[in-house]
Amino acid sequence: MKCLVTGGNVKVLGKAVHSLSRIGDELYLEPLEDGLSLRTVNSSRSAYACFLFAPLFFQQYQAATPGQDLLRCKILMKSFLSVFRSLAMLEKTVEKCCISLNGRSSRLVVQLHCKFGVRKTHNLSFQDCESLQAVFDPASCPHMLRAPARVLGEAVLPFSPALAEVTLGIGRGRRVILRSYHEEEADSTAKAMVTEMCLGEEDFQQLQAQEGVAITFCLKEFRGLLSFAESANLNLSIHFDAPGRPAIFTIKDSLLDGHFVLATLSDTDSHSQDLGSPERHQPVPQLQAHSTPHPDDFANDDIDSYMIAMETTIGNEGSRVLPSISLSPGPQPPKSPGPHSEEEDEAEPSTVPGTPPPKKGPSPVLAEDSEGEG
C-alpha cells in the first residue's frame, strides 16, 4: 500500500486521527479499493469509529502492489497520533505525507515532507489483523436528524467538558433537546447541576423523529466526531432507534466519510441503576420543552413551579412537578427507510444490518475480528 497526502489534506487526516483517538487505543488501517479506511473501537466495544478517505483525497493512492493481497494492520493509536500530534505544525510546515505499508517490512512507514527540505520518517510497528467490521445500518434507524456541525457544536457548548453522557430527544413543539445525564446517585445529597439546551426545528436541515423519542449516549465520544465535522464545516447526521440500540453519527463529503457508532443506554440499564427511590425515577430520561416560543412574557411563564413553604426539611417529592413529556419506550413505529433514502450512506462495502446488543451488556457490540475469515 502506498498513499500520498498533500497540502491541506494532511491536516484533515491529522484531525481525523485526533478524532479517532478519543474512542480507542488501537487504530485499524485498511487500504480498500474504495479508499483508505481508518477504524477504531473502544475497549468495552461500546463505541466504534471509522473514517474512509476516497482515492481522490490522495495525490497518489495505491491500495496494494499489483499481485499482492490487500494488507491490513493494527497500530497503537498513541504511536500513530504522535505523528500528527501538533495540528498547528502540520498546517505550517508539512507539505506532503506519505504512508506506505510493505508486506515484507514489518513497519508502517509514515513520512512527512516538511519545509526547508526537512523529512521526518516514522517507522511504526504494527500487527496483522483481520478486518474490524461493525454491524450497523443507518437505513434501519427510524429516527434521524441532520444539522450543520456548527449548530451541534453550539448546542453542546453549555455542557461541562467533564460531562460523560447526554440525552438527546424531541420535545414538545418538535424542539430538539439535549440534556445532561447523570446516573442516579445513591447519596442524594451530592446532586449535580442539570443542564438542558433546547433548539428549534428550524436549526435542522432534516428532522425525522416523533416527539417523545430520546436516547442517551456518551458525549465525550461524540465530541470527537463533532470537532472534526466543525473544522471541516460539514453536516452531521444522527440516526437512532430505541434506547439501547446504537446510534449512528455520520458525516460525508466528496472525499471522505465518517461514521461513529455509539451505544445508547437502554431502559433496563436505567432501571438497574436506580436502587433508591423508584417512585422518583423516570423510565427513560424525561425531557421538558422549555421552549414554546411565545413572546417573552415573564409573568405568564407556564413552565413554573412554586416552592411550598418549607421550614425544616426538603422532602418535596410530593409537590408540584413541571409539566413534562414522559417518554415511553413503547412499541416502536415500523422501521421505514423511506424518505431519508437520499441520506443512505453506503459506508464500508462490508456493512451488514445487524443488531448489536445494549451498551452494558456482557457481549461485545460489534463483530469481533473474525477468525479465519478473509
Binding site: V194, M197, D296, D304
Partner: protein
Amino acid sequence: MKFRAKIVDGACLNHFTRISNMIAKLAKTCTLRISPDKLNFILCDKLANGGVSMWCELEQENFFNEFQMEGVSAENNEIYLELTSENLSRALKTAQNARALKIKLTNKHFPCLTVSVELLSMSSSSRIVTHDIPIKVIPRKLWKDLQEPVVPDPDVSIYLPVLKTMKSVVEKMKNISNHLLGFIHLKVGTKYPGDFSHFSFNPIVLTIRGQFSQVIEANLDGELNLKIETELVCVTTHFKDLGNPPLASESTHEDRNVEHMAEVHIDIRKLLQFLAGQQVNPTKALCNIVNNKMVHFDLLHEDVSLQYFIPALS
C-alpha cells in the same frame, strides 16, 4: 417561598457574571440570601472554611429589571439557600450573548435554582439553555449564623495597592516558602540496629515550621508590608504612600505613633485565594487590621460590596 428574577441588560448580566465568578473563586459552597432589596453571598466562619468569612452584597434593582420574592413568612421575608458557587458561575457563563436571563426557585425532582437563558440565534427560532442548580434551603433557626459580620474596631485601616501586584507578590512568596523549609528533620529507622542486611524504613518525619505563615502589617502612614519568615530567610515587600481612610474612632488613636505597625499572621493560602478572586481591580479596596487577631478586606466592585475576613493563625 418564591423567587423569580430577570435580567435583560447586557451590561448588568456581565457584571452579575463577574460577581459570580469571583464568588466561585472565594468559596466552594456559599449561602445565597434573597431579600426584597438585596442579594447576598455569604460564607460564615465555620471551621470547615478555616475561619474565613465573606459577606458580599448587591442591590437587586441595579441588576434585575424584574424581581419578585416571597420569603419564608411575612415576618421573615427572606430566603437563605446553600449552593455550590461554581454551578452558578458556569450557568451564567452560557449567558454571554443572551437576550434575557431568568432565575427562579423551582422544584424539579429536587429543590433548585433554575437559570434559564434565552440565546440570540442565527435562525428565527429561539434557543433556550436551562440550568438546574441544586440547592439546600437553610431553615430559619440557622439564620442567626449567617448575619452580616460585625466589623471590629481596627487598629489600622489602609487603602490597598493594586491587587494584581499584591497577588503576584504573594504568589512568589508562597513559592519561596514552599521551597525554603524552615526546619527539616529526617528520621529513617532500622529494624535491627547495626544490621543493614535487613532494614525497614520508619516513616520519614518532616517538620516544617511556619511554611504557610504570611505577615501583613500596616500603619497609619500609608505603609503596608507583606512578609514571610523562615528560619533561613525573611522576605518583605514594602508598599508606601497608600493612604489611610479616616478612622471612625479618632480619639483613641490620637496619641498613637502614626508609624507604629499593626500586624497579623495569616495563612498565605487564604490570602492568595482571596486575591485570586479579584479578576478586576475594584473601585475601592480597604484593609483593616486588628492586631494579632484578623485582617478584614473591604472592597467595592462598582456597586457590589465585598467583605472578606481572614483570622490570625493560632
